[in-house]
């Protein structure tokens, strides 16, 4: 730690303690202390931080989990994987983390994750999203280079942007997007709203758009398969409950929900 960062941290701590003096430190107050007896029923609350692309599937999984284990509540925070990682590293009270790519999960090490985690639970590939009916007649990656096609992609630094660069290399094409968006949902939104003619998004985004866009699969997408890992965090309030949820995602029932949404199995 450099002196300047220490000064910064010191100032931040003073500020935090002044401003938050009245609040209890979140995540530390356990409602009912977890028991180690494996036969006792699961109960209490588990907080899951999950990538934005998992919003629909994980919300469904959470409902099913709560039904199977009455007395439990699954709370979600959905955002970009890198945002979630930085929140976790800054002390956010998460019990389980599901990332949209390996790179962001890799930012957490053994001191952050419980032993035995992370494990992969789903894969996703890119697809070309176009307006319903495909008015521009886009059939391949090559077609996206046509001058009358307004293409939108993810920016290189975000996971879907890295996948875009990979398929671009694989197909030997030079894509010229009119905009490089921050997240895959922004790309989808630009196509859904008719602002752009085509966008590179995940198969699951097309499936989740409920007819708002059509999907055009392309061969090169196999060159950029995105693998989603999930992990139980070391600081989990109730490790048994957290592990149960993460295991449920990887169970046959969980995998069915994911497959219905278009995810592949790792």
């Amino acid at each position: 730690m450099t002196p300047s960062t220490r000064l910064g941290a010191g100032i931040a701590i003073v500020a935090a303690s002044v401003l938050l003096a009245a609040c209890s430190s979140n995540g530390q107050v356990t409602a009912g202390s977890p028991t180690d007896d494996p036969s006792s029923a699961l109960r209490g609350e588990v907080t899951v931080f999950a990538a934005a692309s998992l919003q629909q599937t994980f919300t469904a999984l959470g409902d099913r989990f709560e039904q199977e284990h009455p007395g439990t509540t699954v709370r979600f925070s959905f955002a970009g994987s890198s945002d979630l990682v930085s929140q976790i590293r800054n002390g956010a009270p998460a019990d389980v983390f599901a990332s949209a790519d390996q790179a962001n999960m890799a930012k957490l090490d053994d001191s952050d994750l419980a032993s035995g985690w992370p494990r992969d639970f789903a894969t996703n590939v890119l697809e070309i999203a176009v307006a319903p009916g495909n008015p521009k007649g886009i059939r391949s990656l090559e077609d996206l280079t046509a001058t009358d096609v307004q293409l939108v992609t993810c920016a290189a630094p975000v996971p879907c942007g890295a996948a875009t660069a990979a398929v671009e290399r694989a197909g030997g094409v030079d894509l010229r997007p009119v905009s490089e968006e921050q997240s895959v949902t922004d790309v989808l939104g630009k196509v859904e709203s008719g602002q752009a003619d085509a966008g590179l998004v995940y198969v699951t985004d097309v499936a989740g758009a409920d007819g708002g866009v059509d999907g055009v699969p392309f061969d090169e997408s196999a060159e950029a398969v995105n693998t989603y890992p999930i992990g139980v965090l070391r600081g989990a309030e109730d490790p048994r409950l957290a592990t149960a949820f993460a295991a449920y995602v990887r169970s046959a029932a969980g995998q069915r929900v994911l497959a219905d949404a278009g995810f592949g199995t790792p």
């Binding site: 450099t2 300047s4 960062t5 220490r6 000064l7 910064g8 941290a9 100032i11 931040a12 003073v14 500020a15 002044v18 401003l19 970009g80 890198s82 930085s86 307004q150 939108v152 920016a155 630094p157 975000v158 997007p177 009119v178 905009s179 490089e180 968006e181 921050q182 922004d186 630009k190 709203s193 008719g194 602002q195 752009a196």
Partner: protein
């Protein structure tokens, strides 16, 4: 320092100090995170300079347009005594209280490819979506209310006696406007331009929603900060500091002048 006849309650500085710390501490904490050894390299990289240049250029253009459109609005608002003008003012000042992302959606609905204005312009060969023009439009939308309310405030402070005198002496309305009203509004124009520029410079939500993000075309400095934060927090913090410095340079002088003359820059 002369003694203030009104007097300040002894306890007032306590919450005031907390209020000040609340703003200052996060900014200082961010400065503490800056990696000074690589600071210059980070902020002078090509993408950083491109984003800074684009930000300054678009904010200046947006301020100019906002003045041309906003000054007449402010004068009408300040002079009119009708309830309907009150309604009109509320609508025009709406972007002040609207989340910028909502502004972006509204702009999309109007100027987007399938919006009424956007479709009309597209028929005439003008594309707005994903161009620098879209960035400027977004900035004008969110920043113009600052200018309007600042100028209107200045005009309302004094009454319109001078204008009426000028009119009775035979000056035509245009002449009254240019030789009496404009000089009277000068302090408001100054602070309004400053606030408008600063707000345009910081515009993020409407730009991201409406204009997209492409280096050199639509990716302004705030968008670059947001993008870099994904991969390279050091660069994001360094660029954020640049924005802080630019913002201080812009609002600092008028705020200091305002404090000395007892007139503040805020609307």
């Amino acid at each position: 320092m002369t003694r203030d006849p009104v007097g300040t309650p002894w306890w007032l500085p306590v919450p005031a100090l907390l209020g000040g710390l609340f703003v200052v501490v996060p900014v200082l904490a961010m400065v503490g995170r800056v990696d000074w050894t690589s600071f210059v390299a980070l902020v002078t990289s090509r993408s950083s300079l491109t984003a800074l240049g684009l930000s300054l250029g678009t904010a200046a253009a947006a301020t100019g347009i906002a003045f041309v459109l906003g000054f007449p609005l402010a004068v009408l608002f300040a002079r009119a005594r009708s309830r309907w003008v009150g309604v009109a003012r509320a609508v025009v000042l709406l972007p002040l209280v609207l989340p910028p992302v909502v502004g972006g959606l509204a702009l999309l609905a109007a100027f987007g490819r399938i919006g009424p204005v956007g479709a009309f312009l597209a028929d005439h060969g003008l594309r707005i979506a994903f161009t620098t023009a879209a960035v400027v439009i977004a900035q004008v939308f969110v920043a113009m209310p600052f200018l309007v309310s600042s100028i209107e405030g200045a005009l309302r402070v004094g009454d319109d006696r001078l204008e009426r005198v000028a009119a009775t002496l035979g000056a035509r309305p245009s002449r009254v406007l240019l030789t009496v009203t404009v000089p009277r509004a000068l302090p408001g124009i100054g602070s309004g331009l400053v606030l408008c520029f600063a707000r345009a410079l910081g515009e993020f939500g409407a730009t991201l929603t409406f204009a997209g993000s492409l280096e050199g075309v639509t990716r302004t400095l705030p968008l670059e900060v947001y993008l870099q934060r994904e991969v390279d927090p050091d660069t994001a913090v360094a660029l954020a500091l640049v924005l802080v410095v630019v913002a201080l340079v812009v609002i600092g002088p008028s705020s200091i002048r305002g404090a000395r003359s007892g007139r503040v820059a805020a609307p």
